[in-house]
Amino acid sequence: MKQQDVIDWKVAQLSGHQNVPMSTEMAEFIAQNPMVEKELAFIESFWKHEPENLPQPSSQMRQNFYSMLDEAKAQIQPDDVKTEAKPRLKFIGILSGWLAPNPVAQFSSLAIVFVLGMSISRFDVDSAPTQPGLAKLEQEVSSLSSLVAISMLQKPSASERLTGVAYSSQTDLSDPNLSATLIGLLENDKSTAVRLAIINTMRESSRLADKEQSLIELAVNESNPLVQMELCRLLLINGTSETQRTLLEQLKSMTLHDDVADFIREIQSTSRA
């Protein structure tokens, strides 16, 4: 009996892939290894979306998660960017399966990435920043967040796409595929809520500059006044001075919705004050 066997059993139980009672051998193994018991409790807590109940993982548990993420990334990378074949853990097989287009399973993977992100934030506060593994783990989580975000952003349900936008905001939007997906949705999504959420995410991003030209075009052509207002606010406050000048010039030559025109005047007067 190995620790990984116990974790595989727990995940399979939680995901509904199997409903096999715990064997006597496994129960004995857990009884002899209190750390395994804590790790199972940790997995169950974030599976059930109870981050407030999460026990603080030990350094061994962090290492386990680090390995898990490393393996996961290797499994989901396209073949041509795979650098080294690694043994496929059963657990990783399940995790890769979650990234397949299955709504319930994908939500489970979201929970894992989300709670891992939360756990990392907690480590940042509690631990010394000298641990090199944590920086790499952050990178891994950001990478997984991008993958899950893109997957969620392509869902037919608006509330799932809102979740995708929330996951995008946990990355720095440096992934070109994620950026392209967000811009595409900002242009065409039928839900105003999704489009406004994307603008809010871009407001927090430090990588706005390379999207400003596309955003000017969207702001000028937008027919939804709420979206047009927020696009203008984003560009007039967070954009470069060149972007601000270009946008204002283009808007001057247009007949704007009265509310949009008032809103832009208010932004300008507040900025000048």
Binding site: S157, S159, L162, T163, T192, A197, L226, M229, I237, D259
Partner: protein, 295 residues
Amino acid sequence: MTKFTLALLLLLAPGMSLAQSVEKKYSLELTDPNQPMSLEVEMRNGSVSVEGYSGKNVEITATITPLSQKELEADENIHRRHKQNIKQRYKSKDHGEPEKKTRSKTGLKSVRNATMNLEIEESDNEVEISSEFSTSRIDLVVKVPSTSALEVELYKGGDVIVSNLSGPIEIETWQGDIVARQISGPIVAETHSRTIEVEFASLSKENPSSLTTYSGDIDITLGNKLAAKVNVQNYQGEILSGLDEEFVTTESVKRNKKGNKQEIVVGGQVSAVVNGGGQELSLITYSGDVYVRKQ
């Protein structure tokens, strides 16, 4: 797969005046009654009422009333404006479509004005009810298993009323109110100029919920034990709260690292963490008021 198509040529019903309503009832058996189902309704004119119940069939009552000439003309104007909006939105893109030639209508009368079409389709527990090009008003009352997922799009006309549903809900109307009672969400609802009123029994932890109206009010009631982070983004209206928790501004003046650029909030967003916080519930309106009540 089960499919009903109700195509009624009213000109062939001599005993019926154009203003007379017709009521039709259907009971639809699901492919697998023990599995969750989804209902998608897409209509142009009318109203939709969906109620969750403990049964396993989908019970549909459709009341069909032909539109008056005045309503038809108004409808045609909205349709024309909608098409213009789409053209405006895509004006910068070259779709390579030739301009449509204007044709003479002299001596012709509209036949479409006297027809209606309602289609009900079930496939693998997914039920679709659609009537996009009807010239009649269709008032739908549908009873579905209470765990059903729901999606409603109503381009013109009356209200959408939903009750006792625990599945995900998406509703989009242009001119009708949206009312949802005893639901758990997630719900994403949007109307242009009317009110959204939602009474939450609980709030799904799965995905965020959002209610958006341009000029209407938003009125929500939260169950006593419901945990959520309620975000309100309004520009001109008032926020009226009956929560014990305070709303606090989530946006403020921000400066970049060099200190030479700042973000100044004009249309602010405020948030309240209810019962320790949970999934996000966003309420967005430009000129309407926001009412947040506690049960």
